[in-house]
Symmetry: C2
Subunit: 488 residues, 2 copies
């Protein structure tokens, strides 16, 4: 599509009825797996399997052709081999279907004949006014109508993050990992070859989607750079956009061409465009999710000065390095903050920033120290490490130990679980009260702990480096908004 032309993509993400063309009774075929995923996720609309044999599929009446379906169809999902796709799209046009997801591969990514087929598919779809997702896509997901039209059996959490991915595997994995961490999604599209609808157009749609507050994308290349910049500039004023751009090296770009057919273009051009638009860059799927959690839960920092609270001095050193290396500052604390911390900490504490809880066993001082630090006038944001440790961390060892008096279990519950929750709730409260971001570091990769924290409105990370990165990227966005505000 040319720049500026925006279509309504709601038939893709909010269809009232779906036909699956190529539905099957063979559970190893996508024609069975995809409708099965749609059923499992509890899709609210109607499903019409289409199969020449016309047999019952997954308990649903099926139809020998799309044209035999007795009612209106908003969305067709096509899982038939590439050469038959143009014909099925002709049927979609005839039936008045509004959108088609072409799951099948075998198009532009495979060479000349595939490219010809792809051009034909687009021609038919555009002429007939059918929105075309893919081809070579893993499908879409939408919280609005509980639609999981995906190849892998992923059932994501519902929430406020929209995700566009030019890789189906990376996208659906991001859905699964994000959901494990507690992050909920509004919409997802595996954009595939982007023969008709490209990243730029999905971006535009998600910008206007009221369920979406944060937009993530994995891209290998963009078709229409001018339009991307126009859309992104407009969107970032309201919603953060975070993009993981792969194909950074020339070898990676070559691999991208044979994967999604994307022309990656120069890395420097992308960096400049992102910067100009206030788009944040991520370098891994985890970083995409780290930033999504932060933008969902935290206020933007007002400056670069970080207060660091750790349980264990080594972590203070590591956190300080991590902050300074990304350009944040770790200032000395005001006298009144030190005086307050003196009340809670043993006399030999360092009186510096980072604040080390110096092996203090009494976890009731943790929320107090945290508040003293958050309140400090020269602190813009706080990294708190060791305040959420997880019942499992020591719990397993404690409960497995030879203690006869069940002390292990009591310690695990009271000293670990209860104190962790108290700290989570304190963090959420302090974030609200002081309007400063607090990021928690759990030092574990246990998704369960991160999820519990997220549910209690705490953004928790497995590493100090990850926490520092989140703060500096949020600051980058805050500074962008400030300059934008001054401009307009």
């Amino acid at each position: 599509m040319s720049s500026g032309h925006s279509r309504d993509l709601s038939p893709i993400f909010e269809p009232k009825s779906i036909a699956v063309i190529g539905a099957s009774n063979n559970p190893t075929k996508w024609g069975w797996i995809i409708p099965s995923n749609i059923l499992s996720n509890g899709y609210v609309g109607k499903i019409y399997p289409v199969n020449p044999k016309g047999e019952e599929i997954l308990g649903l009446k099926s139809y020998p052709s799309l044209l035999n379906v007795p009612e209106d169809v908003d969305l067709a999902i096509i899982v038939r081999p590439a050469p038959s796709v143009p014909q099925h799209l002709e049927e979609c046009v005839e039936k008045g279907v509004k959108a088609a997801i072409v799951i099948s591969g075998g198009f532009r990514e495979t060479g000349e004949e595939g490219e010809r087929l792809e051009r034909e598919a687009v021609r038919i779809a555009r002429r007939g006014g059918v929105l075309l997702v893919g081809p070579n896509t893993m499908g879409v997901w939408s919280s609005t109508v509980s639609l999981s039209a995906l190849m892998p059996p992923v059932i994501p959490r519902s929430g406020a993050v929209a995700l566009i991915s030019q890789s189906g595997n990376i996208g659906t994995n991001a859905l699964a990992f994000g959901s494990e961490r507690g992050i909920g999604f509004s919409k997802f599209v595996s954009s595939g070859n982007e023969a008709d609808i490209a990243t730029e157009e999905y971006l535009d749609y998600f910008a206007r989607d009221p369920q979406t507050r944060v937009i993530l994308a994995y891209i290998e290349g963009l078709r229409d750079g001018r339009r991307f910049i126009e859309v992104a500039k407009r969107v970032t004023k309201k919603k953060p956009i975070i993009i993981y751009k792969a194909g950074r090296t020339s070898e990676g770009a070559k691999a991208a061409r044979s994967h999604s057919g994307a022309l990656s273009g120069s890395n420097r051009i992308y960096d400049a465009a992102f910067k100009q638009c206030g788009v944040l860059k991520a370098s891994t799927v985890n970083e995409l999710l780290d930033l999504a959690a932060a933008f969902l839960l935290l206020p933007l920092p007002r400056g670069k000065r970080v207060g660091i609270l750790t349980w264990g001095g080594g972590y203070g050193v590591v956190a300080t390095d991590a902050c300074v290396e990304v350009g944040l500052e770790v200032p000395t604390l005001p006298v009144e903050t030190i005086r307050e911390l003196d009340e809670y900490l043993p006399p030999y504490w360092s009186r510096g920033n980072p604040v080390d809880l110096v092996g203090t066993f009494d976890r009731s001082i943790q929320p107090k120290c945290l508040e003293a630090l958050v309140r400090a006038e020269n602190i813009d944001s706080v990294i708190a490490s060791g305040l959420i440790v997880g019942r499992e961390s020591f719990g397993a060892a404690l409960t497995n130990s030879q203690r006869s008096d069940k002390l292990g279990e009591r310690v695990a519950d009271d000293w670990l679980l209860t104190a962790d929750r108290k700290n989570m709730d304190t963090m959420a409260e302090l974030i609200e009260r002081y309007g400063k971001p607090i990021v928690a570091v759990t030092l574990t990769t246990r998704a369960q702990l991160t999820r519990e924290a997220f549910e209690r409105k705490v953004a928790a990370y497995s590493s100090l480096e990850g926490a520092a990165n989140v703060l500096v990227k949020m600051l980058e966005y805050a500074n962008f908004l400030r300059c934008r505000g001054a401009e307009t």
Copy 2:
């Protein structure tokens, strides 16, 4: 100690008997927790609690003073407040104790009075021939005698990795995380303030320890750089040393001074020294563990040419970027390799490197494609992603789905679990047969999967970037050994 003087540290790591000075019946005191950890881990020697009240502690007869213990004591663990430590060390000397671990803090890290106490402690210990660990340490662990003289109730796996940490928290967390991933440890020391024994001397001891094959360290600074270089140069010829150096920034170095009292020195000096000695640098605890797993399980790569096999084209792009960005190469494949892969893959596969399994559902082709790639004459090492996916990845969704015929569970078991194990065993076999490293990428952070892989002799990583990093660091070590060999 002066350069070159090496003491026998076995009384610390292989004591026949231990006295705990400051043992307690109060389960919130270290005097209870530490002997309790020693008991839980099944220490093979004798334990003598020392407590003025002389009551029974943890079912063990206790003694009012160390001097009342009727038999020889190899190792004393002191948990009494700093000011009384010199007196307890005097008793150690009198009793003929060979080594003392001073858990207590309140020494050099807290100021002048602490520094005086620390100097006094060292003077007494050295004059009396008592090896002194710490002070301000979280203790030691040793597989040889099943000794867990640690503050946190961590029970690590036994294995071949020695770990020295100037941060007790970081060290004991590394033990816990490593064990979760399947990595076993030979010995661990939280070296604390290193008043007597410093990192260099532990390094020297672990170099000679027959149980140890890989040495890891977290350091904030080194006391005796000359000795470190002398020892490290000697050790790296036989065993890889991987060091995570914190206090890289001047702010981080300042935090290090108030933590362990370490003088961090210039970053550039450390980098140069490490390079000269063939010591590998890590930047996080996870990277330390990533490299430990690789060196335990894999042969060294002979060159920089990587073959990439992924299930999903996006991962191929990401893996290629990751390799090229760290300096590895992703060469095109020989004609005969492509011809062989043609037999297993659909006609539209890219015929390039990375090799994408292009959504093929038939997992029995995975080991075949892997072997074709490993065997290729211009490939030195292989990154294989998506060959170990985990029963949990889709399993949870599958088994939760509404399918009535238990198909979900069958798929999870046959298609996921059995195929994963077959792939793991194939990898281990191919590594052996072709003498080339294969690193597996699981794309999850589930430690259970990584552990199962490790137990089947496969080094598995959660990210493609992590896998590329492991290969380039192994190559760095291989090149170092080659140059060394040429030199001597």
